[in-house]
């Protein structure tokens, strides 16, 4: 195992990663969870994140980049403080998912994969988030919001703006 000095992660996360690489039959299997955890902490997958993860797993940077670019939930640019992910897959679409998405767009003044000027919100159109029973649904960071209507969305966004929505 590579010993990492000067890790860019918090001591807790670094410790978690040290453990993570030991629990899979092959070290590189830890790649996707590591990328997700790192993104949560850093906010996005930066060059420094790529390099440290590659080092931890004895991979080439290129291999990390290849995996990283495959998954749409991994991003290489900072998102807003609240990343709004609106589902437009079949159930949500039938129940007005696009209406919700369009509402978010006009409300926030940004499009897909864009971030507001104040860095508070970013918006993404995503595939199924597994909340079909309560469609239309959206996910803000790791919080789910279901049975949405434009009015409800306004309320939710206002909550986040006021700092109340964040858990």
């Amino acid at each position: 195992m590579s010993t990492i000095t000067n890790t860019i992660f918090s001591p807790e996360l670094a410790e978690r990663f040290d453990k993570l690489v030991t629990i899979y039959p092959v070290r590189r299997s830890a790649l996707i969870p590591m990328l997700l955890y790192a993104q949560d902490e850093v906010g996005y997958v930066s060059e420094a994140v790529i390099q440290e993860i590659a080092k931890r797993l004895d991979l080439f940077d290129l291999e990390v980049r290849s995996v990283l670019s495959y998954y749409s939930m991994l991003r290489t640019k900072p998102a807003g403080k609240y990343n709004i992910q609106v589902c437009t897959n079949i159930s949500c679409m039938l129940r007005g998912g696009y209406e919700i998405l369009d509402h978010c767009k006009s409300k926030l003044g940004i499009g897909h994969k864009q971030t507001t000027a104040d860095g508070q919100f970013s918006l993404e159109e995503v595939e199924c988030i597994g909340a079909c029973c309560w469609a239309p649904a959206m996910q803000v960071n790791y919080d789910f919001h279901e049975d949405l209507t434009p009015a409800k969305v306004d309320e939710i966004l206002a909550g986040y703006s006021d700092g109340k929505g964040a858990k």
């Binding site: 070290r27 060059e47 991979l59 940077d61 290129l62 291999e63 980049r65 290849s66 670019s69 495959y70």
Partner: protein, 812 residues
């Protein structure tokens, strides 16, 4: 594995169980198309072109991943299969540009062939094509994104084959692309305001070679010509000691014919699939405008003047004859090259010994082949072929750095480890990249090879001076001793006594085979052919005739001076002392290589046969413009002792082969050319008029030719006349003509006479610098490499390498 019988298209085929169906069919003459499948690489099953119908299996199966088992029934050309392949082609062509008329691959494109075969003239896809600009990833690798069909061959050959992992696949779905390892935002290379991704790798160009379409193209060849406009000549690469076969694409020009492309089209060579950057790109020195194309003679005022061939050769002949007669042959030195053919090397030493009457002849020795041959004297089947590096089950490598100096050896070793589970043991003073494939790596202390060899041969006290970590040493030695039939590869750092002791250690292991890795196309041949002051061809020691072994045919026939001559360093010492009247240099640059003071040659008549105005040529009184290895015919012997045929590919008006020049100079000196090059109807028939060994004998050469069913050669410029003599006289060169002329390699073992005293090695121990490993890298090739524009581009590119080198990262 046990054989099984399967049925393909109603035909019964027997093959070992577990063989891939696509290979079984290939062997039985049933063609199954595939883009992603490439023999020896991991399986991808990405292109779906090889689908076949298997009985009792609901879906079509990919032949490239199906392992055969008893009783299977397959159909490979049913309408269903053909329709499926056609649909796959339509998918591939959906965004593939139809720029075949300008594409480099046009005429050699697998996609083009398949489209032609399956007739996908129309497509369901009417979407506009998504065009992207081509990208320059390095001086030699260009990527044309829309042409890529995502077969992943390049990704696999780079990672698995080259251990470079410089290519990957990024993004998903229809936006998937092949990406190089330096992303655009980190490369620092900006063109027209756009950041460009770069490829940080060994630049071997294997990705270009395996690309089934024209997505990856070569910086030297792209948009220059069409495949069918070239003549394709398979010859031997002039660069390193591996002696790979390379196919040169040549095209006529107004002053000869130029080489446009070097590639590995002919996969029948000793190198199999492989060719490195030098073979692929570094032929361009031949087309250089800096080449000398007229004989130059230094005038009284010190200037060089272009003169006619007749004038230059007469002058050289007259002057050399005069100096030989006035100051003796011993005052003349001869230096040969490492890229001459065997025939030229042999002719040069024969000319030196019989016409110039001197044994002062040497060449730049890149490895100690003399000690190697002597250490193996009296053994049989102990020398390895390059082919053995692919099949050996266990390999010990002491010294050397094949990744940089012998890329084909490195490729073969990696392949042997990957596909055959070969065990690789490496002992080296540097952390060479091949240690990533090694089962055991021993980091030898600086200058520690001698101690290591001593330890291996049983001197436990030298352990601490061999390595820092003594504990690893004994298990390393035990592991090697336990191997059967290991291959022992020796780097050129080991010379003289060290080399001999290492071979002695290896000889105790049953079935061990050896190879000594030198550099340049014919370093081994130069030594074998006797470009040495103390050895005749075939390593028979020069000395009074009665001291020669009974069967030393060379010594018997050579009217050479019986006193050993001066070696490379002594020749220049003699020059400095004013004792050297003339120096004849054929394709070598000793002034730069050995750091000779140019002033030492001021009173010496210097004749140089060279392509370029090198440091040595700059001092010459006469420069004769020479052809290079790509412009002549003959044979070369690689580091391993594999003999291969060199075929004339290119041509340049104004130059002549070294062979022709040597013959012409001998003629101008008044020598009997028939004695030098046996041509025509025999050299002489001695009916007892003379005394000596040959008294009363008919012409031995003519007798030998008749006995071997060979015709007399018609021209004194025919290298095969000398090849006949080599085959007749040089121990170990009992070659097979048909094998040579078919363009195949054959392995020859040097056959030195055993050394009982230590005199044979003492010369080396006195002057270690006589053996001067070339230490070339991937992007240098001695003096010649300086004249390759592409190699110098690659050197500059290398200096900008952006990523940590692979050889400094630990293996997975």
């Amino acid at each position: 594995m046990a054989d099984v019988t399967i049925t393909v298209d109603g035909k019964k085929i027997t093959a070992p169980a577990g063989t891939l169906l696509i290979e079984v069919c290939k062997g039985a003459g049933i063609e199954i198309p595939a883009f992603c499948y490439y023999p020896g690489l991991s399986l991808q099953a990405a292109c779906r072109m090889c689908v076949v119908r298997q009985e009792k299996v609901p879906k079509l199966q990919t032949a490239c991943t199906t392992q055969v088992a008893e009783g299977q029934v397959f159909f490979t050309d049913t309408p269903e299969v053909i329709q499926s392949r056609k649909a796959m082609l339509q998918m591939i062509l959906a965004n593939h540009p139809l720029d075949c008329p300008v594409c480099d691959a046009g005429g050699e494109c697998e996609l083009q062939d398949m489209s032609f075969k399956y007739g996908v003239a129309d497509s369901f896809f009417a979407e506009p094509k998504n065009h992207r600009e081509e990208q320059k990833w390095s001086p030699v690798v260009y990527f044309d994104r829309p042409r890529c069909i995502l077969c992943y061959r390049c990704v696999r050959v780079c990672g698995e084959g080259m251990d470079d992992f410089a290519l990957g696949v990024q993004n998903r779905n229809s936006s998937s692309i092949i990406a190089p390892n330096v992303p655009a935002h980190l490369s620092g290379v900006v063109e027209n305001g756009v950041e460009l991704a770069q490829l940080d790798c060994e630049q071997c160009g294997m990705c270009i070679d395996v690309c089934p379409v024209g997505a990856l193209t070569s910086g030297t060849y792209r948009y220059k010509t069409r495949p069918w406009e070239m003549n394709h000549v398979a010859t031997i690469c002039t660069h390193c000691g591996d002696g790979c076969k390379t196919t040169l694409g040549v095209r006529s020009t107004s002053d000869g014919s130029e080489i446009v492309r070097g590639d590995n089209r002919d996969k029948s060579g000793i190198n199999g699939d492989f060719l490195c950057n030098k073979g692929r790109y570094a032929f361009d020195f031949a087309n250089s405008t800096e080449r000398i194309t007229q004989p130059l003679v230094r005038q009284a005022n010190g200037e060089m003047k272009a003169v006619s061939w007749e004038e230059a050769l007469s002058y050289v002949g007259k002057k050399l004859a005069q100096l030989r007669d006035s100051r003796g042959g011993k005052s003349i030195g001869v230096i040969g090259g490492n890229r001459l053919t065997n025939e030229e090397a042999y002719l040069l030493q024969k000319f030196a010994r019989s016409v110039l009457q001197t044994n002062n002849i040497d060449h730049h020795r890149t490895a100690d082949y003399v000690a190697f041959a002597q250490a193996l004297a009296g053994t049989t089947d102990r020398t390895a072929s390059l082919r053995d590096t692919l099949t050996a089950k266990a390999v010990l490598m002491v010294g050397g750095d094949p990744t940089n100096q012998n890329p084909a050896t490195a490729w073969n070793l990696r392949t042997a480890v990957r596909l055959n589970g070969a065990k690789l043991y490496i002992a080296n003073t540097a952390e060479i990249k091949l240690r990533r494939q090694a089962k055991a790596f021993l980091h030898v202390s600086e200058f520690g090879y001698g101690a290591l060899v001593a330890y291996l041969t049983g001197d436990d006290s030298s352990a601490s001076s061999a390595v820092a970590d003594v504990n690893a040493l004994s298990s390393f030695r035990d592991a090697i001793k336990a191997e059967e039939n290991p291959l022992i590869l020796i780097g050129s750092e080991l010379r003289g006594a060290e080399l001999k002791h290492l071979i002695d250690f290896g000889l105790a292991i049953p079935g061990a085979k050896f190879a000594l890795l030198g550099d340049y196309a014919n370093s081994r041949g130069a030594a074998d052919m006797g470009l040495l002051p103390d050895m005749l061809p075939g390593y028979s020691r020069i000395g009074p005739i009665e001291t020669q072994p009974f069967d030393s045919k060379t010594a018997m026939e050579f009217a050479a001076p019986t006193e050993q001559g001066l070696d490379m360093l002594e020749i220049f010492d003699a020059a400095a002392a004013g004792d050297l009247s003339a120096l004849y240099v054929v394709g070598s640059n000793p002034i730069a290589r050995y750091g000779v003071d140019p002033a030492s040659l001021r009173n010496t008549f210097v004749v140089v046969q060279e392509m370029f105005l090198t440091e040595t040529a700059a001092l010459a009184d006469v420069i004769l413009p020479a052809a290079n290895l790509y412009e002549k015919s003959g044979s070369v012997t690689n580091s391993y002792g594999d003999l291969q045929q060199v075929k004339k590919a290119a041509d340049r008006a104004g130059v002549r082969t070294d062979f022709e020049m040597i013959v012409r100079i001998a003629d101008k000196m008044g020598a009997d050319v028939r004695k030098l090059v046996p041509f025509g109807t025999g050299v002489r028939a001695d009916m007892g008029q003379t005394r000596g060994a040959q008294s009363g004998e008919a012409d031995r050469h003519a007798v030998w030719l008749t006995a071997n069913n060979l015709e007399p050669r018609l021209s004194p410029f025919d290298p095969y006349a000398i090849l006949d003599e080599i085959q007749r006289l040089v121990p170990g060169y009992g070659l097979m003509r048909l094998q040579l002329l078919s363009g195949n390699d054959q392995h020859l073992s040097p056959s030195a006479t055993a050394v009982t005293d230590n005199n044979g090695l003492c010369q080396i121990s006195n002057r270690r610098d006589l053996i001067l490993p070339s230490n070339d890298t991937l992007f240098t090739s001695g003096t010649l490499g300086r004249y390759s524009a592409m190699l110098s581009d690659l050197r500059q590119n290398e200096a900008l390498r952006r990523l940590p080198q692979t050889d400094q990262t630990a293996a997975d």
